[in-house]
Assembly symmetry: C2
Amino acid sequence: MEHYLKLRGMGSFHIGGEVESLQGKPPIQATFAAGGIPVTMDPNGEYMIGQMYAQYFLAGDGQRPPVLFWHGGGLTGACWETTPDGRRGWVEDFLLDGWDVYLCDAVERGRSGYAPIPDIWPAPISQTAVDLFTRFRIGRAGKDTTLENLPAHAFPGTQFPADHFAQFVRQVVPRWNHTDEQIMTAYHALLKRVGRRSIVVCHSQGGMFGLRSAMENPDAVKAVVALEPAAVPLEKARQLGYSTPTLIVLGDYIDNDDRWPRIRDRIMQFSAEFPCVQVLSLPDAGITGNSHMLIMDKNNIEVSGKVRSWLNESL
Amino acid sequence: MEHYLKLRGMGSFHIGGEVESLQGKPPIQATFAAGGIPVTMDPNGEYMIGQMYAQYFLAGDGQRPPVLFWHGGGLTGACWETTPDGRRGWVEDFLLDGWDVYLCDAVERGRSGYAPIPDIWPAPISQTAVDLFTRFRIGRAGKDTTLENLPAHAFPGTQFPADHFAQFVRQVVPRWNHTDEQIMTAYHALLKRVGRRSIVVCHSQGGMFGLRSAMENPDAVKAVVALEPAAVPLEKARQLGYSTPTLIVLGDYIDNDDRWPRIRDRIMQFSAEFPCVQVLSLPDAGITGNSHMLIMDKNNIEVSGKVRSWLNESL
């Protein structure tokens, strides 16, 4: 009850996608509900593939650039909402600060929908709880660790709400690993549809898409905030040039990880070659304990405040 | 700009779900991004399965019962938002009328996530554009009809925005047909979590869950609005009794369809046996042309108004 949100509009749409057809497949017998009448389904025909869902909440005055939230791998737009331990997420935080927000589900994830399996796409990839715990730098766990005792394996001083790790795992979804170009195409279509020069706030896998969107269509992107981007398109920047104001935010425990020191090296190289790219290493700024999921860490609003300050200074 | 929405809160959570484990599966080689370094993934370990996503927007005073939107098969919560032709959907309409709204994605759909395929669940079922067009009583099309020329096959007088049928198809997602009990369990968990006696507004496949929720836990459900329920749990009502105020809304063209006359017969029988169940046949009330997707038909706000009037009279 402490704050009221005032929206001048909200809604959603699906953008992009193309028609794919199946032919020559045998019919399928399906019962749609327990005890229901079996139905013969003909899988042959047309489907829409590669579209993307975006939900919008308009809390600004229509003059400030809109903020587009692009999530990471294995996640959906839900990761920017309420945190696993029930605190305010970045969506509400930005809305309360008077921004227009577009909350996206990447192609093939969440409300975007996906292609018929296995006739058009193979099965997607799922990640175990232990993999997520380790890969997202919340702590270190072995194969024998269970969801129940994972919180005890969190890094000392972690900002991740480790006691609520199971709640986080509930929001993880399968994903494909051959859909990068479809995702990128849909994000470009989104920027066109939004029609106003936008700020892209992107995380992890989404970092690559956010940075690419600004390189490939600089007129559509006013600034990029890449939170722990899993990769940076350095070669593309060298090829196309890059001058979009960009903030890259890094969390803690990078030296505890196998992959992240290399990713950080690439990020520092990117920043060294392109002066528009600033790196905010949270531990170097005295903010310690952040995991890969800094948008839901206990200090997520402090980190959001840093990002909003940078936006206010850079725009 | 015509209306401002005032929310005292918004957010989301995942509810329910259980741990499932995989053991003895061979490792998977995966490359997470084009050009990336291949990663060996061990699929063995724990996953959360059967949880459900709910997004909430609180526009009421906290006294009026909350409204829970439960979508139909092949769809997600997105179907209650902006219509395929860009008009206001029921979520915004109810919020502007001062209700608290919970927008759900059923288990295994949308932002709820799903089980590893095919190791825990088989592949889901997808529906072709022509199947949807016919099954949702928008018009009649043959196997040779394409997405492009489908609008020309709409029933004369249809209220569905047929020129935007491709936009509707973009929001359709695959689904499983063995998950009814998991969905029902998650909806019961949702009602418990919401913690206030709720109004369930449910559509198509969701109709069965809405009606069952009131039969199985009458203390949690104040009223049910079942929009074109694909089935009614008549036997369960006979067994458990049923006295929850219920409105069932039916659209047009039922006699043009193979399945719907039988479904309507069951609905009329249900209403005849249980006086708390009222049926609103839109064509009998002089409102013609509604498809199965009456929440996004051109007169969707008129139909929403009928439902809200009934709620105001029945509560």
